[in-house]
Amino acid sequence: MEKYQQGKISEEKTRVIVVPGEVIASGESYLPGDNTKREDKDIIANKFGLAEKEGRLVKVIPLAEKYMPRKGNVVIGKIIDVTFSGWIVDINSCYSAFLSVKECAKFLNKNNLIEYLDFGDMIIAEVLEVRHRAVDLTLKARGLGKIENGIIIKINSSKVPRVIGRGGSMVNMIKHESECRITVGQNGIAWIKGEKLENELLAKEAIMLIATKPFVEGLTEKIKKFLESKK
């Protein structure tokens, strides 16, 4: 993979590994995308990762990063505290999250908060709002709520797009081959539920493989082959 290591993006070279501060591309025709900034004629990387050119847009896909919550994201979190008005949720981000009683699908008495969601429970939630230093969650939508059974795994949030694949192609393929229900939170926490524990572990292995080798081409095919070989 020597070809990725040096140099700048150009018409021929569409992918380059960059460290923070490096010039990814020069010229006014390029536009600064995610994790880059423009300095005069240059597009500079703000993070360590793979710089990619998509048309005129140049962005950096970081090797790893902490999840930054965005409104509308589906995330999986763990209840770490119960207050009189809701729950504090760990969403494996730089910020903690809050789920208000008002954002629960069920009508709840303020006295039985713990009965609904207790310390250590896992939930699939949606990011309702990102305030200055905290995040508000909601359970009011289909597919959201407390998680029962199955296993939880953790991957770096920067790998989530690869695990999901274009239009869900990758994750749907894994669901099909492993016969499991899978929800991948944008925050890098995934929930896998299968009939048998073996199925859950197979899905987990496939996801972990993708998460540790993100920049490989033809990944979907390779993962499919892997899953078939294990069945």
Binding site: P20, I44, K47, A64, C94, F215, K222
Partner: protein
């Protein structure tokens, strides 16, 4: 008469550099950096929520560096636990790394950097800064540049880089070595760490700083290589 370095190095030559990324799998980012016998390991955890809340900075994230030497890393055993020296080095290390970080993107959070010296033969704070800056990049923190450090010095009237303990302690004709740990943000050329012990004239000091900068650009190449190598290595290990 010029001082001859006992390991045969040129005046502007560092000891053999070893740089590796990912040595602490549990951390968000980690790296090892060695100047010859001096080996530093750094691990980064964060950005993460900072508790208690009153410590939070509403404008930007907080950087906390913790530097210490393992007790067996030096000749005479160092008692475990922080000392005034390690507290001071933690502090100047924080200031050395801060300018490269774009913590405005993470207000109210904290990034913890732990630097541990496995083996010491002078230049430990510089090795620590070099390891820490790779670890921060590895962790995916937004940065404007890496940070590169080296200790430059004046031995017997001559400027030399990456001093060993023996060179730091060298004395000739009542003149002690001057030791100058310095760090640069390599792309902007700005200085973020500057300390000095000894006795040196202004002109010589400026000369030392120039030489240090040239050396740091070579160190920067090693840091970049170490970071880029982990992506290549991950790609190569494709399971068929």
């Amino acid at each position: 008469m010029t001082y001859k370095r006992s390991d045969g190095r040129e005046a502007d030559e560092t000891r053999k550099i070893r740089a590796e990324v990912g040595v602490v799998p549990r951390a968000d980012g980690s790296a090892l950096f060695a100047f010859g016998d001096t080996i530093a390991i750094a691990a980064v955890y964060g950005p993460k929520p900072l508790h208690p809340q009153h410590l939070q900075n509403p404008e930007k994230g907080l950087l906390r560096c913790y530097y210490d030497m393992m007790s067996f890393s030096v000749g005479e055993r160092k008692r475990p636990g922080p000392s005034r020296r390690s507290s001071e080095i933690s502090f100047v290390t924080t200031n050395a790394l801060m300018p490269a970080l774009q913590l405005g993107n993470f207000p109210g959070t904290v990034v913890d950097v732990c630097i541990s010296i496995l083996q010491a033969n002078a230049g430990t704070r510089c090795a620590g800064i070099n390891a820490a800056s790779m670890a921060l990049a590895h962790a995916g923190i937004s940065m404007s540049d890496l940070v590169t450090a080296v200790s430059v010095g004046q031995i017997d009237g001559q400027i030399a880089v990456d001093l060993t303990k023996e060179e730091e302690d060298y004395e000739s004709g009542g003149e002690k070595t001057t030791d100058i740990p310095i760090s640069f943000l390599p792309l902007s050329g700005k200085i973020s760490l500057l300390q000095l012990d000894g006795g040196i004239k202004a002109e010589k000091l400026k000369e030392a700083i120039e030489i240090a900068q040239k050396t740091c650009s070579k160190i920067y190449e090693e840091q970049k290589k170490a970071l880029k190598n982990i992506i290549s290595r991950k790609e190569e290990k494709i399971k068929e």
